[in-house]
Symmetry: D2
Subunit: 135 residues, 4 copies
């Protein structure tokens, strides 16, 4: 399956008074991770939207194992566990600088034609790049 690594450094803005990353900031990290994952196989989300397809989120699941901390560079292992059709699932495993798994996330997104508002299949270019990973 397709899998890659993305790094993100925790900003002060993203901490809360508990001294850790605010729980609601992980979905933004997921966004960074999946956009960079797509960029790594040659797809820019920006271009996808420009071509008339958007990818709204349908479901999001987060598991907080250990706190993320200010200024840490987190490593996000992002993967697409199965070949997408009309939906795409991303998994995210977060590791801190000591290599400990601190967080797990899962997001399901749809492909939507922006003109009709209706679900469509994954764009062809994306299928061509991804399908070799699922054979």
């Amino acid at each position: 399956m397709f899998s890659t690594e993305v790094k993100v450094r925790v900003r002060y803005a993203e901490t809360d008074q508990m001294g850790y990353v605010y729980y609601g900031n992980y979905p933004t990290y997921y966004e960074v991770a999946r956009v960079e994952a797509m960029r790594s196989f040659g797809m820019k989300y920006k271009d996808l939207e420009a071509s008339g397809v958007m990818m709204p989120v349908l479901e999001n699941h987060s598991y907080y194992l250990l706190p993320g901390k200010y200024d840490e560079e987190l490593t996000i292992k992002v993967s697409i566990p199965e070949l997408p059709k009309v939906k795409i699932k991303f998994l995210y495993d977060f590791y801190n600088e000591e290599g400990k798994l601190i967080h797990k996330g899962e997001t399901i997104l749809a492909f939507i034609n922006m003109e009709t508002g209706r679900p469509v299949r994954m764009p062809k270019e994306m299928e061509e790049v991804l399908s070799p990973f699922y054979q």
Copy 2:
């Protein structure tokens, strides 16, 4: 079971270029909803932390049914489906101004002694207020 309603108005800051509420902002709305829910039965989360107990999030689940829109006043039906012990679960149903269910959320939090870092049972005062709802 305990259940109440909390209202939140969508800020411009919370929209994204899709024109809707950014998916990562719902957990912040959940936080507002559960803090106001606790306030409605006489518990201030601020006082809880001051007394040495914090409530970090263990799990978060979000289901995006319809988009939230700028300036809408969303009604959040927040409930605690079972009497908490060492964990507490909150459910959130979001309705837009037309009364349509647009979003569902679920958050599981722990009670943690801030000094020892260890899980503790729900504070007594909270149990006293909540237990009548589960008889």
Copy 3:
């Protein structure tokens, strides 16, 4: 001059590990304050955009006097110091629950025709409501 009061409660998401409101969150409070100020004299920013006029920010100035704290209900005195023409200036004075002035802000926005991208004069309806305050 036009002036009104808007209240905003500090969310946990808005604090940082210093234990205070993160400095970058005040502009969002300003947005809430000026949108509610406009609503108080019968203008919805949402309707303004729907009518083809947007109000991007040109300048923003913030003065941090005392920290804002979690769960405090801040009172924002928002005012429009002079009758707007092609720009509008908002001033914001933030008071905490003890009545202390903790923060001052100033924002200058333009009126922009969304089709042409060009500056326009303040919409008529807005001028009609505001001008009595400046005589």
Copy 4:
């Protein structure tokens, strides 16, 4: 004077329904820029706090010249225009991918002893690194 460049890529979370970077997100970019600037001359803000000195913001000024856009990699030229004493001023010039100046910012921060809450002089190590730039 000391000056360096920091890059930041615009996240979807940071856009608003105008289709641009929300005006309130620039101060977070400033934070990233000055923390990376400090890292470039061997100071970690995290270590500074650990040593008992924090740097709260006193003033912030933002000038919005052109919109920032989703997925753009912005180049921030960050500089410290004069040798700091009890305060430090940072200037930020933002350039988009076409090399156009789109935004200017200025932040003044204090050095505060976290125990006493009182202003202190810039830490010695910082002065030693910075002073050669101002001779």
